[in-house]
C-alpha cells in the first residue's frame, strides 16, 4: 500500500512517556469552599494533572467523569449537580489553563451561592491536590510514510498514544495532535486520514478506547485509498 502523497516529509520519531504523581503543595480540601481556595491557588500543573493526566493514571473502572474535581464532588461531597457542571468542562477547549481555572472557579462559586458553605467530604475523603513529573523518552521507532503509521500503531503503548494524540495539543502551536501535524507535511493525499483523526472526540475515552478508535479511524481511509 502506497499513499498518494505529493511530498516527502521528515520522519516521525515515536516517543513515549511515563509519569509519577507528587503532592501539589496545596492544603487538602475537606469542603467545597476549601476546594475553591485550592483551585484558586494551586499551580497550573495541578489543574493539568486533575483534568488531563487522569487518563494516564490507574483507575478501577470507566470513571463517570473525566476530571478529578467532578469525581470528588460526586463521590465524596455527594453533589451531583456540581459534579455534572464540572464534568462537562473540556480542558482542550480553553486557550490556556488560566482560562480553565477561571471556568472551574465560576462553576464552584455559582454552586456555593446556591447551596451555601455546608458541603463537606467525610473524614479521610478530602481532596488532595496533586501534580505529576512526566518523563518523555524515545521509543526508537521512526515512521517515514503514512503507511508506517498504519502498520506500527498497534505497537504503540497507551502512554505513547497519550503523548502524541492528547498531550500534544498542549505542547504544539497548532494545538493539534502530533500525527496530524506530521501528516500535513505530505500534502493533500492525506486529507481523508487527517479528517478521520480530527473527528475523534478523545477526551471522554480511556486510552485503550482511544487506541482502538485511532486504529479504526486510520484503517478506513487506508481502505478507501487502496480502492481509489
Amino acid at each position: 500500500m502506497v499513499w498518494k502523497t505529493e511530498k516527502v516529509n521528515m520522519p516521525f520519531e515515536v516517543k513515549d512517556c511515563t509519569l509519577i504523581t507528587r503532592m501539589g503543595g496545596v492544603q487538602a480540601a475537606v469542603s467545597l469552599r476549601e476546594l475553591r481556595e485550592g483551585v484558586a491557588r494551586c499551580p497550573l500543573e495541578c489543574l493539568f494533572h486533575h483534568f488531563c493526566e487522569t487518563q494516564l493514571r490507574p483507575t478501577f473502572d470507566d470513571p463517570e467523569f473525566s476530571n478529578d474535581f467532578a469525581v470528588w464532588s460526586a463521590k465524596h461531597v455527594r453533589d451531583r449537580v456540581l459534579a455534572e457542571q464540572l464534568g462537562v468542562l473540556n480542558p482542550y477547549e480553553f486557550d490556556n489553563f488560566e482560562q480553565l481555572r477561571a471556568a472551574v472557579l465560576e462553576v464552584i462559586d455559582d454552586r456555593l451561592s446556591e447551596v451555601g458553605y455546608h458541603q463537606f467530604a467525610p473524614a479521610g475523603e478530602d481532596f488532595r491536590f496533586m501534580r505529576a513529573v512526566t518523563v518523555v523518552f524515545d521509543v526508537g521507532i521512526q515512521l517515514c510514510t503514512p503507511d508506517d503509521l498504519v502498520t506500527r500503531l498497534p505497537e504503540f503503548s497507551t502512554s505513547s498514544i497519550y503523548y502524541h494524540f492528547v498531550e500534544a495539543r498542549r505542547r504544539t502551536e497548532t494545538r493539534l495532535d502530533d500525527f496530524s501535524n506530521w501528516l500535513v507535511g505530505f500534502g493533500a493525499g492525506t486529507e481523508p486520514l487527517l479528517e478521520a483523526l480530527h473527528g475523534i472526540d478523545f477526551y471522554y475515552l480511556t486510552l485503550r478506547e482511544l487506541k482502538d478508535t485511532l486504529l479504526e479511524a486510520i484503517c478506513q481511509p487506508l481502505m478507501e485509498t487502496a480502492h481509489g
Partner: protein, 413 residues
C-alpha cells in the same frame, strides 16, 4: 531473591510494557542504586526488594540491597517508631533515641563508602532513616521511601523523625493520604506484587490439596483466610469474632496464618493471645509460618473461598493484592491502602467492624456466583494496576525525575 529476568514477565504483561521499561531504563544505565531497610525476610518491604533489586539490575542499573544490623533494643525502638507513626501511643525516651542513633551510626561505618558513592539511595521506612546524618558527603540523591501511613502520627515521634526525613531530597508514599507535609517533593508510588514469585505463581491442584491436608483443613468446607503478621493492627481477634458471629449459621473454617518479621518484637505476644482465644476450636487454624513459607501461603490463598484482611491500620496491604491476583473476593478493613484496592461491591467489601465482616462473609458464602464475579474483577484490576512492572516503571521515572530536579515535563536522553 528471584533470578529471572524481566523478559519472564512478558507473558503476563505483554511485550509493549517490557519494551517500555527497557527504553526507560536505558537512560539510567550504570546508575548506582542502593536500597536500605531493616530486614531481609518477613513483611512487605523485604518482599518488594527481593524482586525490585534483581530486576533493576536486569535493566542495567547497578543496584544493591543493604540491611541494618540491629539488636533487640534497637528493634524495640523502631517498633515504637512504627506504632507511633501510625498513630498509636508510643514511648520515645532519650535512651531510645541514643540506642537508635548508635545502632544506625555503627551500620553507617560499614555502609558509608557505598552510600556516599551511590547515584540514588533509597531508604525504606524509619529504621535506617538516621543514615543520612551519618553520610554528610553524599554524591547522589537520597529518597525516604515511607511504606506506612504517617498522616496522623504521634507528635513526639514525628517531631524527631521529621527532622531526619526533611534532610532527604524527596520522600515517597504509597498513597497521597499517607503523607505529611514536608518542604521537599513528596511523591506517590503504590506497591505491587510479583506474579511469578512463589507466593503468587500458579500452583498444581495437588500441591494445594496437600497443603490443606498437612494442616488438617477439611477440603470439603468453605475456607476463610487471613494472611498477615500477628500484629494488633491486623485485628486477628476481630476476625475470630466475625467468624464466631457467622459460625452459628454456616459451616466453614477459618485460617489465620502468618509469621513474625525479624524487626517485629511484639509478634509473639499477639500470637499467644490469638492461640489462647482459638484454643479447643476445631474450625479455626492458627498457623505460625516461617518467613519463607511463600508457596504454603500461595496454596492457602488459592484454596480460600474468601480472603479477609480486617486491618485496623494498614500501609498498603499486599496480602489483599495477592488474594485479588488469585481471583479471590476480599473482605478488607476500611483503612489505608486496602481502600485503594477493595472497591466496595466490585472487588470485595470494606468493613469497619467484626459484625460488618460477618455480614459480608455470609453474603459471599451464600452467593458463590457473586464471589466468583468479584474475584474475576479483582484479578483484572491487579493485572493493570498492581503488578511489579508498573512499580518498576515509577521507580525509573522517579530517578530520571530526580536527575532533572523533578520538573513537570522532562525529555530524557
Amino acid at each position: 531473591m528471584v533470578s529471572m529476568s524481566l523478559d519472564s514477565y512478558e507473558d503476563v504483561v505483554g511485550q509493549v510494557v517490557i519494551a517500555q521499561l527497557r527504553k526507560l531504563a536505558h537512560q539510567l544505565a550504570g546508575a548506582r542504586v542502593v536500597h536500605v531497610n531493616s530486614t531481609r525476610e518477613g513483611g512487605g518491604v523485604a518482599e518488594i526488594l527481593s524482586w525490585l533489586v534483581p530486576l533493576m539490575n536486569d535493566l542495567g542499573l547497578d543496584t544493591s540491597w543493604e540491611v541494618i544490623d540491629g539488636h533487640a533494643e534497637y528493634f524495640h525502638t523502631t517498633k515504637s517508631f512504627h506504632n507511633g507513626l501510625q498513630g498509636s501511643p508510643a514511648a520515645l525516651t532519650d535512651h531510645m533515641i541514643k540506642v537508635y542513633e548508635d545502632t544506625v551510626s555503627a551500620n553507617a561505618e560499614r555502609l558509608r563508602p557505598k552510600l556516599s558513592k551511590a547515584d540514588f539511595v533509597i531508604i525504606h521506612d524509619p529504621q535506617p532513616a538516621f543514615l543520612i546524618k551519618c553520610c554528610p558527603e553524599r554524591k547522589g540523591r537520597w529518597v525516604w521511601r515511607c511504606h506506612i501511613d504517617v498522616s496522623r502520627p504521634n507528635h513526639r515521634i514525628w517531631r524527631y523523625l521529621k527532622e531526619l526525613v526533611s534532610l532527604y531530597d524527596a520522600s515517597v508514599y504509597s498513597m497521597p493520604h499517607f503523607a505529611r507535609r514536608l518542604d521537599h517533593p513528596q511523591l506517590i508510588i503504590a506497591p505491587s506484587i510479583d506474579p511469578l514469585s512463589d507466593k503468587n505463581c500458579e500452583l498444581p491442584q495437588g500441591y494445594i490439596d496437600a497443603t490443606l491436608d498437612r494442616f488438617g483443613i477439611d477440603r470439603r468446607l468453605p475456607l476463610l483466610t487471613q494472611i498477615s503478621r500477628f500484629d494488633r493492627f491486623k485485628d486477628p481477634l476481630g476476625v475470630i469474632r466475625a467468624f464466631d458471629i457467622l459460625s452459628g449459621s454456616l459451616d466453614a473454617q477459618l485460617v489465620l496464618a502468618g509469621g513474625g518479621a525479624d524487626d517485629d518484637p511484639e509478634g509473639q505476644a499477639v500470637l499467644n493471645e490469638v492461640q489462647e482465644t482459638a484454643r479447643g476450636r476445631e474450625d479455626i487454624f492458627i498457623l505460625d509460618l516461617p518467613p519463607d513459607a511463600h508457596r504454603t501461603i500461595n496454596a492457602l490463598q488459592r484454596a480460600s473461598t474468601v480472603v479477609i484482611q480486617k486491618s485496623l491500620q494498614e500501609g498498603f496491604g499486599l496480602t489483599v493484592t495477592e488474594a485479588m491476583w488469585k481471583s479471590k473476593p476480599v473482605i478488607g478493613g476500611n483503612v489505608g491502602g486496602i481502600r485503594l484496592q477493595v472497591h466496595n461491591h466490585h472487588t470485595g467489601f470494606l468493613v469497619d467492624t467484626p459484625e460488618g465482616a460477618a455480614l459480608r462473609l455470609r453474603e459471599l458464602l451464600r452467593q458463590p456466583g457473586k464471589a466468583g464475579r468479584m474475584g474475576r474483577t479483582a484479578r483484572e484490576f491487579v493485572t493493570v494496576n498492581f503488578l511489579l512492572t508498573r512499580h518498576l516503571r515509577e521507580y525509573l521515572t522517579l530517578m530520571l525525575g530526580l536527575r532533572h530536579g523533578l520538573e513537570s515535563h522532562l525529555l530524557a536522553g
